[in-house]
Every structure is written in structure tokens, then in C-alpha cells.
């Protein structure tokens, strides 16, 4: 049950909420209570900090990418190197936090959804560490696109369940994970991988990812002696973006720029740009911008990167868009692929296709920013190498 005061905490302006079957309401109440206790418990925070530092390798570096800056026509482009975290992306920040919380709640079984597989791998990793049973739902199309990550999850002891319904991508993997949770809610915790889903997930995942921005803010002040002109991150569900934006929200002079996947071009209709081209609607338990048709059916998304191939977006992004505190733009598949190559060649860093969207924006528009630019390099591209080779007609290399 929701009181008026807790209802306000569940939302970002009008967005968010808890639009779920009644069966899950009690579990969300319990999770909220457990999370609110844990976040102010010094023992929990100390355990998490220890894991983030000694297991995941935090803090991640803030690297000044000089050659990328030259290509972008900007003197000071920095990369927040979430790709250097254990398991290769920012996702581990959240899964360690939630696994620790699940352990505290006495839940021994974990489920997760995954698109690109990075969140699935990060969840499987945390479950191996904490000796928790782990089931990961993944769309059949993504199982194909990201075969390497499927094997990594299996190596880590997780069971990967391919989802063949609907779009066979992240959206339907999430539906299936929610169905599992509704069925096994008493002994299962659902580790959602992004700042989406019913409350408290969007704020809890944000809090676990906010370390990205807290570190980046200190690091840029140390390096430049001033705040950045802009912070840039890719947005699918939007967890790395919220993670890096959060610490900068009160710094009004810092532009926050989210880059959605424009796929084959927004005008083509084949894209994942919910904020640019969607309208408010309810999916996966929260009200937020959504790609949908005239009858309220959720429209299929498209992106070359599985992690951005999602028709919804976290509710806090919808709020940041409407309040104009953040600005959302997009990069196409082709622009992201070009940026993937550019960063590889200029800096010796192969970025995830998701993060390549943020890099693409800086290459195209970096010169318009005055002051340093901080780009969230949310993940590394090893997982994408075979897929990119296929997309570019190099056949099946792996």
C-alpha cells in the first residue's frame, strides 16, 4: 500500500510510479524498506565500497583523450572509463549493490533481464560472488547478436533463458523477467539493469550508479580546476547517463546531454529514441516517454546496439527532459559505427556500441561546447567486435 508521502517519493514529477500487478506490490514495499534502511547503514555502504574498490576496480579513471579531442575540434575531451570496470561496463556498480541488498533481504534466487548481455554478465558475476542462484532472460535476437556474453554468463554459473515472444529483444526479456518475479516473488529478487521499472528501482539503480558522476566531478575539478561545460552519455534505459548526470544536476552551468539511438534515422521509424520521438506512456511498471502507436501498443525499437534497443526510458530522464535540465539528442547506427572505429584508431580504446553513440555526438558537436567535455564511456566493445564485423560485411569472424 502506498501513502501520499511515499507516492511522492515514487515519482519524478509526473513520471515513474508503480504500475505493476498487485502480486508485486508487497515485494516492492519490502524492497523499498530494505533499500531505505541499507542506504543509510554505514555497514552496508562500507561493504559496497569495499567491493567497488577491490573487486570492481573503482575509481575508474577520467582520461583526457587528446586525439579524439582533435578530431572533435575541442581541446579538452575526457572519457570516464567505465569500460575499465570489472566485467567491462558500468553495470557492475548496480549489480553489486543489488546483490548485497538481496543477500541482506535473505533472497537466494536472482533474476535479471539483459539486452547486450553486459547487465546479464554483471549480474551473473555478482551472483557467483555471493553464491546466489541466477537466471537471466535474454531476447533470442540478442542471444544471436551477443553470443559471447551468453557464454560468459554460463561460465559464471548463470542460466540464460532465451525469450522468443514479441520483439525477441530487451523489451520482451524484461516482460519475461517480470513474469518470473510475479511467480517466484517470495524467494526471488529481480535485479533490474537500468533506471527503469516500478519504484524503487529507478531511484535505487540511480543511487548505485551515481558513483560515476561523483568520481567524475572530483576528477575533472582536479584535472581542470573547473566544472565541465558538458557531460555526455548514451541513453537506452539510461542508467549510465543518470549515473554520470546525477552529481552535476545542481551545477546549472553544466550541460547534461543524453544521446539516444537514432537507428536508421528518426524519420525512418527504425530507432530507439523514446525521448525525441515518443510520448508518455506506461511500460514495465512506470510512466515515462515511450515509443507507441496510436492505439497505445508499444512500438518496436531498433538500434545496432542491443543495449539501446529499448522502446522506453527511465522516468527520471523524462523529468529531466521536460524540466529542460538535460537535453536529449541522438546518433544513428552509422554515426555510432563510425565513432566505434574512430575511437579505436585514435585512442586505442574499443568502445561498446552503446557508448559509441555518446562519442559520435562529441565528434559531431563537441566544438559547440565551451569548457571541458566529459563523456561517459559506459562499456568496452569487445562484445561487439564480431557483431560489427558482421554488420560491415566481414562475415563471421568469431
Amino acid at each position: 500500500m502506498t501513502t501520499d508521502a511515499s507516492a511522492a517519493r515514487q515519482r519524478f514529477g509526473p513520471y515513474g510510479g508503480r504500475y505493476v500487478p498487485e502480486t508485486l506490490v508487497h515485494a516492492l514495499d519490502e524492497l523499498t524498506e530494505a533499500y531505505e534502511a541499507a542506504r543509510i547503514d554505514p555497514a552496508f555502504q562500507a561493504a559496497l565500497t569495499d567491493l567497488l574498490q577491490n573487486f570492481a576496480g573503482r575509481p575508474s579513471p577520467l582520461y583526457r583523450a587528446r586525439r579524439l579531442g582533435e578530431a572533435a575540434g575541442h581541446p579538452a575531451v575526457y572519457l570516464k572509463r567505465e569500460d575499465l570496470n570489472h566485467t567491462g561496463a558500468h553495470k557492475i556498480n548496480n549489480t553489486l549493490g543489488q546483490a548485497l541488498l538481496a543477500q541482506r533481504m535473505g533472497k537466494r534466487r536472482i533474476i535479471a533481464e539483459t539486452g547486450a548481455g553486459q547487465h546479464g554478465v554483471a549480474t551473473a558475476t555478482a551472483c557467483a560472488l555471493f553464491d546466489l542462484d541466477c537466471v537471466v532472460y535474454m531476447g533470442e535476437e540478442d542471444v544471436q547478436r551477443q553470443a559471447l556474453n551468453v557464454y560468459r554468463m554460463e561460465l559464471l554459473g548463470a542460466e540464460v533463458r532465451p525469450v522468443g515472444s514479441g520483439t525477441r529483444t530487451l523489451k520482451d526479456a524484461t516482460n519475461e523477467a517480470i513474469r518470473d518475479w510475479v511467480t517466484n516473488v517470495r524467494d526471488t529478487h529481480y535485479i533490474i539493469g537500468s533506471v527503469v521499472g516500478p519504484d524503487p528501482f529507478p531511484r535505487m539503480v540511480r543511487d548505485f550508479q551515481a558513483i560515476i558522476g561523483h568520481e567524475a566531478r572530483e576528477q575533472i575539478l582536479a584535472a581542470e580546476g573547473r566544472l565541465p561545460g558538458a557531460v555526455v552519455a548514451c541513453v537506452g534505459g539510461g542508467s549510465n547517463a543518470i549515473g554520470i548526470f546525477h552529481a552535476f544536476v545542481p551545477d546549472h552551468a553544466v550541460q547534461l546531454i543524453g544521446v539516444e539511438a537514432a537507428g536508421k534515422g528518426i524519420e525512418s521509424g527504425h530507432h530507439s529514441a523514446s525521448l525525441a520521438a515518443g510520448s508518455p506512456g506506461v511500460l514495465h511498471g512506470s510512466l515515462s516517454y515511450l515509443l507507441q502507436d496510436a492505439d497505445g501498443q508499444v512500438a518496436p525499437a531498433h538500434s545496432v546496439s542491443a543495449g539501446l534497443d529499448y522502446p522506453g526510458v527511465g522516468p527520471e530522464h523524462s523529468f529531466l527532459k521536460d524540466s529542460r535540465r538535460a537535453r536529449y539528442t541522438s546518433a544513428t547506427d552509422d554515426e555510432a559505427l563510425a565513432a566505434f572505429h574512430t575511437l579505436s584508431e585514435l585512442e586505442g580504446i574499443i568502445p561498446a556500441l552503446e557508448s559509441s553513440h555518446a562519442v559520435a555526438h562529441v565528434l559531431a558537436h563537441g566544438r559547440e561546447v565551451s569548457g571541458p567535455i566529459v563523456v561517459c564511456l559506459s562499456g568496452r566493445g569487445d562484445k561487439d567486435v564480431a557483431h560489427v564485423a558482421r554488420v560491415e560485411g566481414r562475415g563471421s569472424l568469431l
Binding site: S165, V182, T183, G296
Partner: protein, 261 residues
């Protein structure tokens, strides 16, 4: 016009439970809704749940997911479902609850939907992803409309919260018989009778039980303890076996099972 409460009261007066079948509108064909509804009305349905299909039916199991995807693929729209309902209402007075998810209603614009659904002859609306307290403004608009808001109680709802969760509900209260999604199951849980008894003691509304009921024996067991029996996936499966006629025969077999007990 018969109301949902009347339908339950009439059964209760005879010492019987109401039978509430569910079907997805526009399944198996866009044009089959009317004949399916008539078949159900004529073979023992006291109230009918008519599903407006949604692309992401996360409370539903494989049977209703499939029916939803087929129906959407054949062009079913909210407006089309209301047209089907209007045609049915011209021929039968069986109360109808529109069963759906919130997004199609928001997209249609909620107040327009409530007005049009009532005009088309709906008596109630059940929104699977709108639990009590999740959106007080939206819930209040439904409560203030001519339609009954069908509230749901889950096996995970703490007993002390049942009357609070039922607040604003009308027509009947829907008890989800087990954690999980919709779909036929071989067994009912042994704790069901005790749970239903405890909930009935806490609320005044008639209590219908659904999720997983698929045989005359199960329907009879539920009818012995509850005011109503909801059957969904098994009705869809009967439609798959032999169309509206088979769905009607199946429903009649459930009614017979319930009346024998």
C-alpha cells in the same frame, strides 16, 4: 441493464457461485468476438471479462499472450473492441468487464475511454497494472465513472491490508489464486479455501477467484468457497480446439461441475 452486482446476487440467492469467463477480443479472428461473446452468454456466463489486447501483457501467461499478439496482428483496436461490445449489447444483457492494461486506456485518453466504454455497454473495468494507490488520480476517475473498478487481491497481499486494497472497488473483488501469470494449471493450492475465507470475512464485495482454473472439478472446488469463478486461458484453449461452439460447450461443462457440488 443488468449490473455485475445483480449477476452475483442472483447466483448467491440460489446458493451458487457466478461463472466469469475471459476472452481476448479479436481472437482468433477480428470478426469472431461477437459470436464468441454470444456463445459464452448462452452457456452459463454470469459476467464476461473481455480482454483489450496489449503488446506487453506482463501479467499473462503464454495462452493469453499468444491470443493478444494474434488479435493485435489482426488489427484489433480499443475502438474496435468497443464496437464489438456495442453489437453484443444489442443482443444480450450479460454484464461485461473490460480487462486490460493501463497504457491503451491512457492513449485513448482515460475519460473518453470511460465514457465510450459505458456508452458501448460495459459495466466494469479491470486494469491489471493499476494496483490500489498506484495512481490515485487515475483510480478516482474510474471510481467516479459509471463503470465498476474491479480491484485485485493477490496471495502476497497482507491480510490486514485487504480491506484497504479493496477500497474503491465495485462489482466484485478478484482474488488471484496463486503467485504467477494467467494460465491453466493442473492443481489448485490446498491453502486456497482458508485464504478465500479470510478475505471474504474482511470485505463486503462478492469475491471471485481466478488464475489457473481449467477443469469442472477445479471450478467446483472454487465455487464451494467463493462467490465467483474466473476462467480465462482454458476458454481460449477451447476456442482453439473448436471455435465459439467449443468454448460454449466448455463453459457449460464448468457450470455443470459447479452446480453439482
Amino acid at each position: 441493464m443488468r449490473s455485475i452486482s445483480q449477476a452475483f446476487q442472483e447466483r448467491r440467492a440460489r446458493g451458487q457461485a457466478a461463472l466469469v469467463p475471459y476472452v481476448t477480443a479479436g481472437y482468433p479472428e477480428r470478426a469472431s468476438t461477437l459470436s464468441v461473446l454470444e456463445a459464452l452468454a448462452d452457456t452459463g456466463a454470469d459476467v464476461i471479462e473481455l480482454g483489450i489486447p496489449f503488446s506487453d501483457p506482463l501479467a499473462d501467461g503464454p495462452t493469453i499472450q499468444h491470443a493478444s499478439f494474434v488479435s493485435i496482428g489482426k488489427g484489433t483496436t480499443v475502438r474496435g473492441v468497443l464496437d464489438d461490445l456495442r453489437a453484443f449489447r444489442a443482443r444480450r444483457d450479460t454484464p461485461v468487464v473490460l480487462f486490460t492494461y493501463l497504457n491503451p486506456l491512457l492513449r485513448y485518453v482515460l475519460d473518453a475511454f470511460l465514457r465510450d466504454a459505458a456508452a458501448a455497454g460495459a459495466q466494469g473495468v479491470l486494469v491489471t497494472d493499476l494496483p490500489t494507490g498506484s495512481d490515485p488520480a487515475v483510480e478516482q476517475r474510474i471510481i467516479d465513472s459509471p463503470l465498476d473498478l474491479i480491484r485485485l487481491i493477490a496471495p502476497t497481499t497482507p491480510l490486514e491490508l485487504v480491506s484497504e486494497v479493496a477500497k474503491g472497488g465495485a462489482g466484485f473483488l478478484y482474488y488471484i489464486s496463486r503467485t504467477g501469470v494467467t494460465g491453466a494449471r493442473a492443481e489448485l493450492r490446498s491453502e486456497l479455501a482458508a485464504e478465500v475465507g479470510a478475505i471474504r470475512a474482511a470485505v463486503a464485495l462478492p469475491l471471485a477467484v481466478g488464475f489457473g482454473i481449467s477443469t469442472p472439478q477445479q471450478a467446483a472446488a472454487v465455487a464451494a468457497v467463493a462467490d465467483g469463478v474466473v476462467v480465462g486461458s482454458a476458454v481460449i484453449q477451447a476456442l482453439d480446439r473448436g471455435g465459439a461452439a467449443e468454448a460454449g460447450r466448455f463453459l457449460a461443462s464448468l457450470r455443470k461441475g459447479m452446480d453439482r457440488s
